[in-house]
Subunit: 403 residues, 2 copies
């Protein structure tokens, strides 16, 4: 009998509760025959009307000091006290599973190290891509591959907004309001639309793929607040869409290039068709080529489904630590920002003649807005494009093109 | 030190060899620090020029009787002697991993049972979807879900052919010849174009999802040989494509409906954008909703990548059997063929008036071919559609629509 606890009875936490209650027989079978029983739910709020109100506690020590509890789901979110609680639990010899991307991206290295020392597990499948299986497949199924590249639509909110612009011709502002009304965006949407959420997720994936901590502070991050309806229309005319992409490239020299940025994606890429609140992660391995994982990147039951799968895996591996792991690198592992070249989609009020003088190998796009030139550059490094753009009289837009 | 053997040095077998040789350090790390060393390659042919010709043997007993060998990759294909070899190896206490979908679909139940008895593993990640992680994610990551539905593009050859028709306006015959010239189709392409390959794969996925053997002989299977260029053009006009789909639906009553058939797929489905020799499998779980797995469904290194991942997993679990498993069902688990309703895309030389009399709730499609009526029916069971079609004077085409 494996006794488990849930920390945080919000959207995801109550989803975890529901799945454990309704699918208990199936979970038992999949946990090698061991019944999974819920013993505690930690939350600072009162749940006196809950049918199992006796499970609730406000004191994490009830869980930490209970030797019967072997696996804890941390679905409370935020850095503190999630960090302190997780650390204490791992140190007391319990496995912890989490959906908390901020915690994994910030303190994952240390928490994974403690788990390894204590021979328990710290699993975080739900922290990236919600219900989409990605952490375990990348680690286990692609184990024969050197990962060369990851490109992901990692944030459902921004994808929903861009989709509303693309499909329904809404402006960014209207699409954002619509997303807020539907509950897809927070009242303060900065973490999503500024790209910070996607940044933490690509940092986790890049750390997992390389085995070395990729610090999200080292990843240049640009959100979608500057994307206009005209940009989206130009993309459509180019048989493409604009998506917010979390990107990481792994050099043979061990250096990692990573960025979060809106990108123009041709419609022949499977990433282009990922609509609404869905997420998708394209992983390129040296043997397998491109594989893509697609599904709901957020939401109560999808995310809880991944948390519960981690619980079952932790129960199965109760006596040994799985080697899902990364460590702090010696020295700087981030590639020079100019080592990677992108083509750029550029709009300017400058003349086509001037454009051609500055960008010799560009291809023009038919105008949608009067009195401007629109074109796609040859692949350029960041400093090259900055220099060339500064020579134009006025730049309306410049967006990377995913290659 | 884990000693492994490869049976069959064809395309996939030589890929497994290449990966083990070039990525040995990485494999060792991922196999919890245990070095993976190749000890035998079984093949009836001579490889005297091979740099490691001393590894080759023509006698399977060299492997069966060698207690040092703990994991064997069966990549020889075909039913015999692959079945006999695999059985003997499992019985002698070795784990076997395979890319052989025919063997898994035909003798999987028995081989999985022997593996369980002997406390070893029989893994088959590469048997469905080539390099795409699908078996393990379905089993582990979706463990909290009741699987409701699987719809997959499971055969790269037919997808390439249909793609050539859709994108390049080739006829079926020309596209097939092109696929044969490119090495994507066999000289005898029946197993692919008649749907038998896809049928074995959906049988494996349905067995895994339900835990009960789904016999591929019980799955109605229709290939793509009747699909014409006009059908494909009609689909495009309907903002859709035609794909060969392996389909399985799991009822709450434990009954399974499964079919392999060309289907019309709307362009808003992520399956519609799966081009060329790529495969994709959409799995619907009661918690997670739709998740899709996409990648190369065949080819030397993609398939070998999945075989090697299985080898590593078998090395890690050398002392215990993982519960990837299904058993022979008590009684019939297949749903009545009329329990499932599809809409159908129909072309007939009969008049629109007659069509409307017979199919009251149909929606007509603009004509592409003169003197015919084209329409999509309301959802109908198989017997309902057969009856109604028999009332038309002449039926050119009828294709299921994926819903």
């Amino acid at each position: 009998m494996a006794k488990v606890a849930i920390m945080g009875y919000g959207t995801v936490g109550s989803g975890v509760y529901d799945i454990i209650k309704t699918n208990s027989e199936k979970l038992c079978v999949n946990a090698n025959g061991e019944p999974v029983e819920l013993k505690y739910i930690l939350d600072i709020r009162d749940f006196d009307d809950h049918p199992e109100k006796e499970l609730f506690t406000k004191d994490v020590n009830d869980i930490i000091n209970d030797n019967e509890v072997s696996v804890v789901a941390e679905v409370m979110g935020g850095l503190h006290p999630a960090y302190e609680f997780t650390k204490s639990l791992l140190e007391s010899g319990k496995s912890v599973v989490t959906s908390n991307k901020e915690l994994v991206a910030t303190y994952g290295t240390e928490l994974l190290e403690i788990a390894r020392e204590k021979n328990v597990n710290y699993f975080f499948e739900a922290s990236v891509g919600g219900g989409i299986p990605i952490i375990r497949p990348m680690h286990q199924c692609l184990t024969a591959n050197n990962i060369e590249k990851i490109a992901g639509i990692l944030n459902g909110t921004t994808n929903y907004i861009l989709n509303q612009m693309i499909k329904n011709g809404k402006t960014f502002e209207t699409a954002l309001k619509d997303a807020q009304q539907k509950g897809f965006a927070e009242r303060n949407p900065a973490a999503d639309i500024e790209g910070h959420d996607a940044c933490r997720k690509i940092a986790i994936l890049a750390s997992l793929a390389s085995g070395k901590l990729v610090d999200y502070n080292d990843i240049d991050t640009e959100g979608i607040t500057n994307i206009t309806l005209d940009d989206v229309k130009y993309a459509a005319a180019m048989d493409a869409v604009v998506k917010l992409i979390g990107y990481a490239e792994f050099g043979k020299d061990g250096k990692i290039y990573s960025i979060v940025s809106p990108m123009v994606i041709k419609n022949d890429s499977p990433l282009s068709g990922v609509d609404g609140v869905f997420n998708a992660i394209m992983v390129t391995g040296d043997c397998v080529g491109d594989v893509m994982f697609y599904g709901k990147g957020a939401g109560k039951l999808p995310t809880a489904s991944a948390v519960v799968a981690d619980i079952v895996d932790a129960v199965k591996h109760s006596e040994r630590s799985k080697k899902i792991f990364w460590e702090k690198p010696q020295g700087n592992i981030m590639a020079d920002k100019n080592s990677k070249k992108f083509s750029y989609f550029v709009r300017t009020t400058d003349t086509a003649e001037n454009v051609q003088k500055i960008f010799s190998n560009c291809s023009f796009v038919d105008n949608i807005v009067d009195n401007e030139s629109a074109f796609v550059t040859e692949p350029l490094s960041q400093s090259e494009v900055i220099e060339k753009l500064s020579m134009l009289s006025d730049v309306v837009t410049n967006i990377r093109v995913l290659n």
